[in-house]
Subunit: 220 residues, 2 copies
């Protein structure tokens, strides 16, 4: 039987690279995206387009109801404004949905069990370690431990870029010949990327660090 991998794929740079990392293993790849009412739902459209181009099954799960579990997240439609600037400390904490990665991974694992897939790939990386507790290596390790025993079949959780920075991920993707025009990062879901929000700043920095020009169009 062909090996199957489920990839948690948001449409952003990191998970786009992870998606291609999974494809490069020769496994049958299934992409899963989550609509949790994020303002940048343009990500989801980009994700759908990429999967269509690659001929991949793309499961989109509407989990907007998780909003009911929390208060005050500015990542969600209807919440407060997205903070501008860099991903640093307190001003970005407001974008954290409690326990989000555990919720998303638990569903990706369910999907993997249904498909008899043996692995779930997701895009945690070292740049998020100090901001999001559920992006740290100890979280991935603990999620893997529970995922291996939670069902009749074991599902392994793999974060291929866990110890890499966003710059490293971009470097890996560029080396694989990936075109990052097929990704969306901006927190504001307008026609072109804003170039000002924390996510855009981080993205632009990664391209600068890699001495490459971002192929995406920006406002202004």
């Amino acid at each position: 039987m062909t090996k199957k991998i489920v990839v948690v794929y948001s449409g952003g740079m990191d998970s786009y690279t992870v998606l291609h990392k999974a494809i490069a293993t020769g496994a049958e790849v299934y992409a899963i995206s989550f609509n949790y009412g994020q303002k940048h739902s343009k990500e989801l459209l980009v994700a759908a387009k990429v999967c269509q181009q690659l001929g991949l099954v793309h499961k989109v799960v509407d989990i907007r109801m998780i909003n009911e579990l929390m208060v005050g997240s500015s990542l969600l439609a209807g919440g407060s404004e997205i903070p501008e600037g860099h991903y640093e400390g307190d001003n970005m904490k407001s974008t954290v949905v409690p326990n989000r990665n555990m919720i998303l991974l638990s569903m990706a694992i369910a999907y993997a069990v249904s498909l008899e897939a043996s692995q779930v790939f997701y895009g945690a990386h070292s740049g998020d370690h100090h901001i999001y507790p559920d992006c740290r290596p100890e979280f991935v390790q603990a999620m893997n431990a529970v995922s291996m025993i939670a069902n009749y079949q074991s599902v392994e959780i793999i974060a291929p870029f866990l110890n890499d920075s966003k710059n490293d991920i971009l470097a890996a993707g560029l080396a694989m010949g990936l075109d990052y025009k097929n990704t969306w990062t901006c927190y504001n879901g307008r026609d072109k990327a804003c170039g000002k929000c924390g996510a855009c700043n981080e993205r632009l920095e990664a391209f600068a660090e890699n001495d490459t020009v971002d192929p995406l169009e920006y406002e202004g």
Copy 2:
């Protein structure tokens, strides 16, 4: 600050007992129920009524979309018929939604983080160990390990009846003076309990073992 506990409460016997176990600690208790399209959604109505009587906040989360993650579960509305008889081996495996407890617990943990609750109680018990991998002590232990580190605040997962049978749980509840008329077990959500499905059989056996008559009304 008063200690807060979130209880995963389905409206069934086990979680009804767990709910009262949490209340007995003196903590502020928040009940969370999940609508995953189960045929016995009458459980949810019973749960709502109990919470109202007890003056508890009752959060009901609609997670019917998890149906899209799987195939062929007979517990879900529109699926195949509920098997009659006992909970034994293969004929009950068809009622298992993949990774369900991890999904439910991940949301209960998110709710706990929002509320600044330190614990999540749920009703895993030894009777389910051999049928559901996600009811076993090693699962609870692993879920607790990840829950303790997944967010800025630690949330402890507690299954107070983990090593007890359904009979033991009933015995504990009867000793606490609980009225099991306030619970629903039957897999068929008709006016009265059917008395024939696996869930009813198990329930009736627990009452017989405790030399007590089930206060619930049954068909026929």
